[in-house]
């Protein structure tokens, strides 16, 4: 609730700005960049002689209390290191939390009052390119990207650069995230399963049985019927990841959809070979029917879609299952375990579809982009900041308990696509005594591996092949435990189970989507949520399909077909 007071003021400010701004002031031709570049050779890590200013946007969680006393979001281990290493002074043009940051960025775009650099998503990037508000970074990337980062970007088979290349120019610096971020797993309270003598649910029928037991058989042993079977998305959350936001969907039902071979929100190959939108297929209807059934039986959180924070019941030990990617110890699980050391959350690649397969939908590697304002005097500074972060992560300079990496200015993730799987195997070898840190000396792209190896034995007790919470020692180092538990538990199903991923044919917007997609998505999201929660009959799905096609869906499908053919 606390975040919602701003919008009216923002709206008012927006109209003011729109009314007052004109294009004349911002379009003065750029001259100053040339002199800076020609005088010195490009050095990805070079320190500036004179202090250089950069204003950025940053996401800040106001409830975060990680920073040591005296430090601020503008003055902490990260900004001080940047000042020392690069002689760059970082300033915040604006700081906001989560959803508010997206509003603030939209406002900055609309009023053409951009920070020198900021991190944006794919839709915002396209908007900025079309409005001609951001700088061409082709030369910056070529001259200043550090070799390690270049390797990671180029190892995506061109996907990362394609996402930022417009008319042959590189318009933004793409982040590259691990594949694992796009694979949604079943997280389950193993201690509840054990207490009720149950096995992890492999089929939808078993999932229902387990959820019923979690709701009805008092797994937390307090004598009250107050537990949730399956946590659902929070208010404003997504039921499933889609082709534009293809990864890190928390508490959605992605694996339940894929257990029905349904891939809503993705562009799939139809029977005749031409593209078709997954949300309008009969499999999606089936999956919705099954979710509707689970919800009506009270096995999914009755307050899903209305709750402000879906992770609260998980932290409070009131929820037994949820779906999310591997990194959940970075999410609610650290606090859940602090509250209840017995909370034995484990991850599985479940439930399976009728053929007994786990078929998750796959994400695109780049969903976050650093853009630089047109006419900013030092367009290479953001690239240098990213080089600097990567290098210092390799060298383990920063202590996450003195403020998380979110405080690093313009942070986007650079991870080799198999970072999680590779790290799981490496740590297993180290624990088993087969390998030591020296064996991985050449794997420099896996930047956090050395510190992972250094700390694993202090937080993981024997037996090393069991991942139960009782075999961990988080008190020794909560920061290292969060990462190691995420990797070893959340990464285990990715390494130990075989599965085939389903990709979307397209991960970006086509031209007509710019004006129509918002309303089509709204139609889809609302209809599906209402069907699941019983506010509309299942048959609404059929009229949704018709409306969707009529309101531009058919034309957009045609555009997708053309886009793929190119």
């Amino acid at each position: 609730m606390k975040n919602k007071s701003k919008p009216l003021a923002l709206l008012l400010a927006c109209f003011l700005v729109l009314g007052a701004c004109s294009n004349t002031t911002n379009n003065t031709p750029a001259a100053p960049e040339k002199s800076a570049e020609s005088s010195e050779p490009a050095d990805p890590f070079g320190r500036y002689e004179e202090p250089v200013q950069i204003s950025i946007s940053i996401e800040i969680d106001p409830t975060d209390n990680e920073l040591p006393p005296g430090d601020t979001p503008l003055d902490n281990q990260y900004t001080r290191q940047i000042k020392e290493a690069l002689n760059v002074d970082v300033d915040h043009q604006f700081a906001a939390s989560g959803q508010n940051l997206r509003q603030r960025i939209s406002l900055a775009i609309a009023s053409n009052d951009l920070p020198d650099a900021m991190v944006v998503n794919a839709v915002e990037l396209r908007q900025l390119v079309e409005a001609d508000q951001i700088a061409d970074l082709t030369e910056v990337y070529e001259q200043y990207a550090s070799p390690d980062i270049k390797t990671i970007i180029e190892n995506t088979n061109g996907a990362a650069l394609d996402a930022v290349t417009f008319d042959g120019k590189i318009m933004a610096l793409p982040g590259v995230q691990a594949n694992a971020d796009g694979i949604h797993l079943l997280w389950i309270r193993q201690d509840w399963l054990d207490k009720l003598n149950l096995e992890p649910p492999t089929t939808m029928a078993e999932l229902e049985d387990v959820a019923r037991a979690f709701v009805e058989d008092d797994p937390d042993g307090n004598g009250k019927r107050d537990t949730i079977g399956i946590t659902g998305p929070e208010s404003g959350g997504k039921l499933y990841a889609n082709f534009l936001e293809s990864k890190n969907n928390l508490y959605g039902f992605d694996p339940i959809f894929s257990a029905h071979d349904a891939f809503p929100g993705y562009w799939l190959e139809g029977e005749d070979g031409s593209p078709v939108y997954g949300s309008i297929l009969p499999e999606t209807r089936e999956a919705l029917a099954s979710l509707r059934d689970l919800y009506s039986k009270g096995l999914i959180d009755p307050e899903m879609g209305v709750r402000n924070k879906a992770d609260e019941p998980i932290i409070a030990g009131k929820s037994g299952m949820f779906f999310a990617p591997w990194w959940m110890a970075y999410g609610p699980l650290t606090n859940a375990v602090k509250n209840d050391p017995e909370a034995n959350w484990q991850a599985y690649a479940l439930p399976l579809n009728q053929n007994g397969e786990f078929k998750p939908h796959a994400a695109t590697p780049s969903t976050e982009f650093v853009v630089v304002r047109k006419n900013y005097e030092h367009p290479e500074v953001p690239m240098k900041l990213l080089n600097n972060l990567f290098k210092n992560e390799q060298e383990n300079t920063f202590d996450p308990s003195k403020g998380g990496p979110g405080y690093y200015p313009l942070r986007v993730v650079y991870a080799p696509s198999d970072e999680i799987e590779f790290t799981v195997k490496a740590l297993r070898d180290v624990l088993a005594g087969n390998k030591t840190a020296e064996d991985f000396a050449n794997d420099k792209a896996y930047k956090l591996l050395p510190s992972d190896i250094a700390s694993i034995k202090t937080i993981k007790n024997e037996p090393y092949d069991s991942m139960d919470i009782a075999t961990w020692n988080p008190e020794a180092n909560w920061g290292a435990w969060t990462r190691a538990y995420s990797i070893m538990v959340g990464g285990r199903p990715l390494v130990d189970t075989e599965f085939e991923e389903v990709s979307s044919l397209l991960y970006e917007q086509t031209p007509l989507m710019e004006s129509r997609w918002v309303n089509l998505r709204k139609l889809e999201d609302e209809t599906f949520l209402r069907i699941i929660m019983g506010a509309a009959p299942l048959e609404t799905f059929d009229s949704f399909v018709e409306n969707w096609k009529r309101q531009g869906g058919d034309q957009i499908t045609q555009e997708v077909k053309e886009a793929i053919a190119q």
Binding site: P7, F15, S106, Q133, E303, V306, K522
Partner: protein, 296 residues
């Protein structure tokens, strides 16, 4: 002419108001142009290409537009009626209360919510009606199943109107109480002597005595009929109740600011302004007609 000496001061006093109006209402009107353009923030309002009436055509195609306009009208009308009746009844009841101290206390307590913002009150209301909240616990005593009140689209407008009345009726009561004290007590004494009971004097003296106030307040609120309350709805709604709870202002906010559809949002906002302008003109005329209320 008689007032010439005073008039200057009166006009001087208008200046801050006009300044405010100019800065916050006239200048932003410049932005209306966006709805006729393919707005490109990089080129600005003066440089963007013209789109003609295209966004307006698309606006009328969208089901959303009809929905938000009708939602706005329904919720605002319900609020006008409820905010007329509730304070009136409460003022009448309070007026019958003979114990002065109690009356003052009640008055103070009921108008307190008026001073709190919807961010706070919205949180309180959501908590009250949440799945494990007091309302559901009370219902459970009568053997009823818990219900997610704020996920029910049928119920949502009533919850909005109800909570708005709860916030505002105490404040509205003050105006009616003031009108009630303006009634000449001699009328009641005369009626008493003529043998009129409480109901009679209520019907023939009290109600006619505050009629002008009631009519005036109603007529003036007509001008607000398209302002169904952004703050309140924004703090209470969720996607499940968009179908009955999404109003023009919340829709424009989401479409324009969250989804970067500036042109469409501006077009809808403009339509709202046009309709609102007509309604204000009509209500001002009505106020003049029925209760002779004029600004100048």
């Amino acid at each position: 002419m008689r007032m010439k000496g005073f008039a200057k001061h009166y006009y001087l006093m208008l200046i801050p108001g006009f300044l405010w109006l100019f800065v916050f209402s006239i200048v932003p009107m410049f932005g209306i142009i966006i709805s006729f353009q393919y707005f490109n923030p990089g080129k600005g309002i003066l440089g963007s290409d013209w789109a003609g009436l295209e966004h307006f055509k698309y606006m009328f195609l969208l089901k959303d537009t009809q929905e938000v306009f009708s939602n706005t009208l329904v919720i605002a009308s319900m609020k006008i009626v409820a905010n007329l009746i509730a304070p009136l009844l409460f003022a009448l009841m309070l007026n019958e209360l003979r114990l002065m101290i109690l009356r003052r206390w009640i008055q103070t307590i009921v108008y307190l919510p008026h001073f709190l913002s919807w961010v706070i009150l919205g949180g309180i209301v959501l908590d009250l009606f949440s799945y494990n909240g007091p309302v559901n616990q009370l219902a459970a005593l009568f053997g009823l199943q818990p219900k997610l009140f704020f996920a029910d689209a049928q119920l949502f407008p009533f919850l909005v109107v109800g909570s708005d009345v709860w916030k505002e009726f105490g404040f509205g009561t003050i105006i009616y109480l003031a009108a009630l004290t303006g009634i000449n007590p001699a009328l009641y004494e005369a009626a008493n002597i003529d043998g009129a009971g409480r109901w009679r004097s209520l019907w023939h003296i009290t109600l006619p005595g505050i009629r002008t106030t009631a009519v005036l307040l109603t007529v003036l609120s007509l001008g607000n009929v398209l302002n169904a309350g952004f703050d309140q709805i924004f703090n209470l709604y969720n996607p499940l109740v968009y179908s009955t709870g999404d109003i023009i202002d919340t829709w424009v906010y989401r479409t324009g600011l969250l989804n970067l559809q500036y042109e469409l949002a501006t077009a809808v906002g403009l339509l709202k302004s046009v309709v609102g302008f007509l309604l204000i003109s009509v209500s001002y005329y009505l106020a003049y007609r029925f209760v002779n209320y004029r600004i100048f």
